[in-house]
């Protein structure tokens, strides 16, 4: 593992140094941009970087902090966003060849971008992703993203660059988008913390998404505290998003006291010990459960027998929503310009009969009711985030050749994510170990709607007792292998 340096500090640690002027935002920004120059040719975490603009804003932040106008813990921190939301001055490429250049011009700033700017965070650029934010891209127009722990391995989908850039210390944090695991998957595979918030907690305004009942923007960072601090900035009501909740955002730090005494947690048997769960994943997960017990939590095991249906139900409902948008936009007249993985997924979802869609939406309600019933009895549910360690890039591609590919390529990587996506509850991935090949493993913590504070409390207590989140990839070694 590499020695910790400035760019591998957490947001909160960097913020303390910035506030006390032990470092300047310019110094931090230059470090980040230098790392991007060095490692981006291999990692391919970014689609667009505007270093000159970022340095200008870093100088402004430096002047403000020097003048005593410190805005808070994100002031002066460099960050990136999945290229699925608009940010003025940057093209919104969506990681696709489908759009022409004039169609990528951002019309306005997404609400998340505006809120981060108001908090003083500095946008470096837009991050690489699976096409349109759909998992399954095989040929990436902006380069094959690579896992910073080993370049031959997959960095998951679809907020791929957001996971890579955060893990590799190319920025302080990232904002991804999670419909069915697109924040949690990259967080897990790259060894960082990633949160899918409750639907409605974060405005979707300015995002380019079509899964209207499941899409969420969520942060990726190097600690639970960081993610909580970011959520305090980006969460909260936005009149520009009709589905955004009016609930006030709590001050999450008050809940992160490291004490889990009296908290009741449950391991979801079907996910943690289901078919195909890798033994290294199980071992790391069980060790994590022991740590939480030592922190005072009561941990039991429960069954959610309908959880196994979450993947097909999400595909039959949310994917059909998405496909209906694409049928009206691009799929009919630009089919050949889509990646084969994206277009075959969209085409199959476009053929789902409306009667089946309706039944799937009803069944989704039933599955969600089972998940929520468990959450009435327990403060949070626990599973591995991914049931296998990161796979080699080729093995992870959704290139279907036969029915034998369906479970390993279409279902297994989603099996732990979709029950909570479908239920629209908060779920967070926290690093919890490494495979024998040195690839990150992760624990998933899910809680009740708007229960982000509980998720943070558990994740923070876990991180106080472990140091997995403090380990970082040795990028010189990664470059030497590539």
């Amino acid at each position: 593992m590499a020695a910790t340096n400035l760019t591998y500090l957490t947001c909160i640690e960097q913020a303390k140094l910035l506030k006390t002027r032990e470092i300047s935002p310019v110094e931090l920004m230059k470090e980040s941009l230098d790392r991007i120059d060095r490692y981006e040719p291999t990692l391919k975490a970014w689609i667009t970087v505007n270093g000159e603009q970022a340095l200008t804003k870093a100088r402004q932040a430096e002047a403000e902090i020097t003048a005593g106008k410190y805005r808070g813990p994100l002031h002066g921190l460099p960050y990136g966003v999945k290229d699925q939301m608009h940010a003025l001055g940057f093209p919104t490429t969506l990681g696709t060849r489908v759009l022409d250049a004039h169609e990528m011009v951002a019309p306005y700033d997404a609400t998340v971008i505006k809120r981060l700017a108001a908090a003083g965070a500095i946008l470096i650029g837009k991050q690489n992703q699976h096409e349109w934010g759909k998992g399954g891209t095989i040929d990436f127009p902006y380069g094959q993203p690579r896992n910073p722990w080993h370049p031959d391995y997959d960095a998951s989908s679809s907020s791929t660059g957001s996971g890579i850039a955060t893990a590799a210390g190319l920025c302080s944090f990232s904002i991804g988008e999670d419909t069915g695991g697109s924040v949690r998957g990259p967080a897990s595979c790259n060894g960082v913390v990633g949160l899918r918030p409750t639907f409605g907690r974060v405005s979707r305004h300015g995002g380019v998404m079509a899964g209207y009942s499941s899409d969420t923007f969520g942060p990726l960072a190097r600690s639970v505290e960081d993610v909580a601090a970011i959520m305090e900035v980006i969460g909260g009501h936005d009149p520009l998003d009709v589905l955004c909740s009016p609930r006030p955002v709590p001050h999450y730090a008050h809940q992160m006291n490291g004490d889990l005494r009296g908290m009741k947690l449950a391991v979801v048997r079907e996910i943690a010990y289901g078919d195909g769960v890798d033994e290294e994943v199980v071992a790391a997960f069980e060790t994590s459960v022991s740590v939480l017990r030592e922190q005072g939590a009561i941990v039991e095991e429960i069954s959610l027998p309908y959880a196994k249906w979450a993947v097909p139900l999400q595909m039959l409902s949310t994917d059909a929503d998405v496909a209906s948008w694409f049928l009206a936009n691009y799929l009919r007249d630009r089919y050949d310009r889509f990646d084969v993985g994206t277009r075959t997924r969209l085409a199959s979802s476009a053929l789902i009969p409306a009667s089946v869609y309706n039944r799937a939406m009803r069944a989704r309600t039933v599955v969600r009711a089972q998940v929520l019933d468990a959450m009435r009895k327990y403060d949070a549910l626990l599973t591995p985030t991914n049931v296998t360690p990161p796979r080699l890039i080729e093995a992870a591609q959704e290139s279907l050749g036969s029915a034998d590919d369906v479970i390993p390529k279409l279902i297994r990587r989603r099996i732990a994510h979709y029950p909570f996506s479908l239920s629209n509850v908060p779920a967070m991935s926290v690093p919890n170990g490494f495979s024998k090949d040195g690839l990150p493993l992760a624990l998933q913590i899910a809680s009740r709607p708007f229960g982000e504070g509980t998720v943070f409390q558990i994740g923070h207590a876990y991180q106080k007792a472990t140091d997995w989140h403090s380990q970082h990839p040795d990028l010189q070694k990664t470059l030497s292998v590539a």
Partner: protein, 64 residues
Amino acid sequence: MDVTIEQVRVLSEMQGLSLPEGDLENVALRLSTWLTAMEQIEVEMGAEINAAEPIPPVFPREEF
């Protein structure tokens, strides 16, 4: 339900999609997978599905 390549060809034409020959088997495999799963879900959960409303959980009304 095993969806055939010919069925995919007809259905996609109904949607105004002209799929290349090379994609038909892939699409048929995906669609077969999800429709087969739904048949199994109906068997396991059918009565509960009948009693549920198909409302997306975008305005949570639960007590949380």
